[in-house]
């Protein structure tokens, strides 16, 4: 469109976190009256880019232009003043305030007496709610009482209220039903027609047909392509692009694990059937054999972690059965699961894994504590020290002393300590949730090697990962989950096409 104007342009943006480079040489811009989609897998850097636009993060280097003038967006308030509004999946921020108040908390309209003018609030909101097809009865409800789909709409309304000229949607459809999705798309088209710029982040390529004007593909922090979508979208081509680049990014090529050809059927160690916990996941049935590595590939929100936590006893499913070595188990707590030989490495190291200011040793023994004791709970120091020395050697952790605080270790080493927790346990199944997230490449390979070796020694390993090369490198069997369902299973026999795997994980529909 010739009368389109550029709202924001990001040029050559670099941003790193600790050891990982989240964005490298990324350039991205949005014009008025267009929908510019940003696609890629998890961890590709999309959220980081959005956080830079909304002022939550600062780029390490690069430039940002708004209305062709260089700016620095140092905090969310400034982004808001520039007219940028983001619609996240997060719930509305003030749960016990009414929806109307939530929208006006920072700057309520005032009467002459200085009191809050609720009438004026309603007057300003009413037309917006009508345009967005939101029932006005929502205004008086407490924010916490709203369904997620409605909360999203209110966020959009709030954006319009602020006279935003750029509205950013971050994976909006993952929480919506089919009809709500249709309603959302109508609204986005309405925004475009009103001359707003829309940034639409998604990993669901099929949705973009008819919706996006431009599509930028982001993989591993790099822009790998920008396409004009106004005349149609080559979706298969995009899948190939995403998969191919992801595979190519590996500087040291790891061999795909080629599933061992076990002559006799090795026994099933863990079997899950009909496991359901709506809306998180439903009707999951899979099994893992002795000495096998089962990979679960999918995007965030596909229900993999919740499923794992059901097996681990922290989040019991509503329906379905879990069988360990043929026997039905229904673990009601983590310690139950551990006693039966199931271990789990949570995905968020910082909040779910490490004990911040405690020593490495204390972090290592957090699980095995009960087994280190003699009579009345006395923790045997010698046993502990021997154990931790064993860990150190096995995992090749370079440290001076296990008494050091765990935070003195790098991310990769911390993750090794997390893994170390499980080494001495007598496990039958070990579930690893995003084991190498945020870790340098060298340590990643060590982890992968470790997983394969442990499996070869007879342990069954379940690896949950959004990292395609990782899944291909370690798994014997790959399960793909999407929106809480198991949508595909691949035997990793060397003939698997990465783009097929990606397609099943990212496709919209149903």
């Amino acid at each position: 469109m010739s009368d389109q104007v550029q709202i924001i342009e990001l040029k050559e943006i670099y941003r790193a976190f600790g050891g990982t480079q989240a964005l490298s040489d990324v350039s991205f811009d949005i014009k008025t009256g267009e929908v510019h989609a940003l696609i890629g897998e998890n961890g590709a850097g999309k959220s980081t880019l959005i956080k830079i636009i909304t002022g939550v993060l600062q780029p390490d280097s690069g430039e940002i232009f708004v209305d062709r003038k260089p700016v620095v967006i140092s905090n969310p308030l400034e982004a808001r003043n520039l007219g940028f509004a983001a619609v996240y999946q997060e719930p509305l921020i003030y749960p016990y305030l009414s929806v109307m108040e939530n929208m006006f908390v920072a700057n309520p309209p005032l009467k002459k007496s200085g009191s809050v003018d609720r009438h004026e609030m309603r007057r300003q909101i009413a037309p917006i709610f009508s345009q967005l097809e939101i029932p006005h009865s929502l205004l008086e409800m407490h924010a916490s009482e709203l369904r997620l789909g409605d909360q999203q709409l209110v966020l959009i309304a709030a954006a319009l209220l602020q006279n935003a000229r750029l509205v950013i949607f971050d994976e909006p459809t993952s929480i919506l039903s089919a009809s709500e999705t249709e309603r959302l798309f109508r609204i986005i088209k309405f925004l475009r027609e009103s001359g707003k710029g829309v940034a639409y982040i998604s990993h669901r390529l099929e949705e973009l047909e008819g919706l996006a004007d431009r599509v930028t593909v982001l993989t591993d922090g790099h822009v790998v392509g920008e396409f004009d979508a106004s005349k149609g979208l080559d979706i298969d081509g995009l899948y190939r692009l995403i998969a191919g680049v992801a595979m190519r990014e590996y500087t040291h090529r790891e061999e795909h694990r080629v599933a061992a050809d076990t002559g006799s059927e090795s026994e099933v160690v863990l079997e899950v059937s009909g496991l359901s916990n709506p809306p998180l996941y439903s009707d999951l049935s899979w099994s893992v054999h002795r000495g096998e590595v089962l990979g679960f590939y999918g995007q965030v929100g596909s229900g993999r972690s919740e499923m794992a936590m059901a097996v681990y006893g922290l989040l019991p499913a509503q329906r379905g059965a879990i069988r360990l070595e043929g026997r039905d188990i229904s673990p009601a707590s983590a310690s139950h699961a551990i006693r039966r030989g199931i271990g789990y490495l949570p995905e968020d190291r910082k909040s779910q894994g490490i004990f911040g200011w405690l020593s490495i040793r204390e972090n290592l023994i957090s699980v095995i504590l009960p087994k280190l004791t003699a009579f009345i709970g006395h923790v045997l120091k010698k046993k502990t020290i021997n154990l931790t020395e064993d860990y150190r050697r096995t995992l090749k952790i370079k440290i001076a002393s296990t008494n050091d605080p765990i935070l003195s270790l790098s991310g990769g080493h911390q993750q090794k300590v997390m893994l170390g927790r499980w080494l001495a346990e007598d496990l039958k199944v070990l579930i690893l949730d995003e084991p190498t997230r945020g870790i340098d490449v060298g340590t990643k390979r060590e982890f992968h090697r470790f997983i394969r070796e442990t499996a070869d020694q007879g342990l069954s390993v379940v690896v949950i990962s959004s990292d395609l090369p990782e899944v291909l490198a370690v798994s014997d069997v790959i399960n793909v989950m999407r929106k809480g369902r198991l949508v595909a299973t691949f035997r990793n026999d060397g003939n698997v096409r990465p783009e097929d795997v990606v397609k099943h994980a990212l496709a919209a529909g149903e």
Partner: protein, 334 residues
């Protein structure tokens, strides 16, 4: 299915049946409390053969309600921000002690009262400073200042008690009444409550207080002056605690070193019973006052039925626990 603004107004107007009105009301909890108060009062009245309704008893209860209710205004807002102040008992005692000492030394009534209120406001200010600047958790801060001011009271009184009190207090606040039932103290309290409740619903800074309790971080990012508001609240708390102390003095014109001990529990009980969440974010001043009324009626019943007054604190503790439990059950439904 689009509802226009007009449609909603129309629908509201037609919902006249009382049950539907109750269901739609945002004052559900308060209405239940009010009903409970009526039930309990009537019950006590019957069991006590009408003694409950004597003018002397009712007016005493009303003064007690004023004593508990005035600080409850500030305590409600403080607890909405997920804070707490357990030093108000000592502050109330401080007010009484200051009035007693100054008046005994010849100060005019008005100055004595002013001095008392200045002292307690300063106490509130101290709390405010330590909490907002020193980032010491409110429970620890106010536990500390509770003892500090208790020591000051003791020092002021030299360990003994004072019974020379400005007659103004007793005469104007407690004895002078409208009709035979309503002391001016109660009227004053009602006025303060109305102002407080109105402000908390309509003034933007007060709405900001609710925001802080719901999500302090977001409120701060959105530009709400968190520190200033908290500072104001704890300081105001001090002032109102002083007012309560003066009323306590008016009711029993003797100042002892233990004046006000345990008072904070009563106010907290009133606020919790009134529906304010301990964890903050939700609460109402009207509810707290109703809670104060209920608490006072129940305590009066305890005395009236010659149950040992020692049970009062047990009953209070129990009411707090029950209210919190009820509040949590309601939340689990969300």
């Amino acid at each position: 299915m689009t509802e226009s603004l007009a449609d909603v107004e129309q629908a509201k107007a037609t919902r006249r049946s009382p049950v539907a009105w109750f269901r739609a009301s945002s004052f559900q909890y308060e209405l239940i409390l009010a009903a409970l108060i009526v039930v309990v009062a009537v019950g006590v009245g019957i069991v006590s053969h009408g003694l409950f309704w004597r003018a002397a008893n009712i007016s005493q209860i009303l003064v007690d309600v004023a004593i508990t209710g005035v600080p409850a205004i500030a305590m409600t807002l403080v607890m909405i921000t997920a804070g707490i102040d357990v030093s108000i008992g000592s502050l109330a005692g401080l007010a009484a002690a200051v009035v007693g000492v100054t008046f005994e030394n010849g100060w005019p009534t008005s100055l004595a009262i002013l001095m008392a209120l200045v002292a307690t406001t300063f106490g509130g200010l101290l709390n405010a400073f330590i909490i907002t600047r020193g980032k010491v958790p409110p429970i620890i801060t106010t536990l500390g200042t509770l003892s500090i001011w208790r020591a000051v009271v003791y020092a002021l009184l030299g360990g003994s008690w004072i019974s020379t009190i400005p007659p103004f207090l007793v005469n104007t606040l407690v004895l002078a009444k409208i009709g035979r039932y309503i002391p001016y103290a109660f009227l004053g309290a009602v006025l303060l409550v109305i102002v407080g409740a109105w402000a908390s619903r309509t003034r933007p800074s007060f709405r900001g207080i609710f925001a802080i309790g719901n999500n302090e971080e977001a409120a701060s990012i959105q530009g709400i002056p968190v520190r200033k508001l908290k500072f104001f609240l704890y300081t105001a708390m001090g002032l109102l605690a002083g007012v309560a102390g003066l009323l306590m003095l008016a009711q029993s014109p003797v100042v002892q070193p233990t004046a006000g001990t345990g008072f904070e529990l009563q106010v907290i009980a009133a606020v919790v019973v009134g529906g304010t969440r301990i964890q903050g974010g939700k609460g109402s001043i009207i509810g707290s006052v109703l809670g104060a009324i209920l608490v006072e009626v129940v305590q009066d019943a305890v005395i009236m039925f010659h149950i040992q007054s020692f049970w009062q604190s047990v009953v209070l503790g129990g009411m707090i626990l029950v209210s919190v439990l009820i509040g949590m059950r309601g939340r689990r439904q969300e």
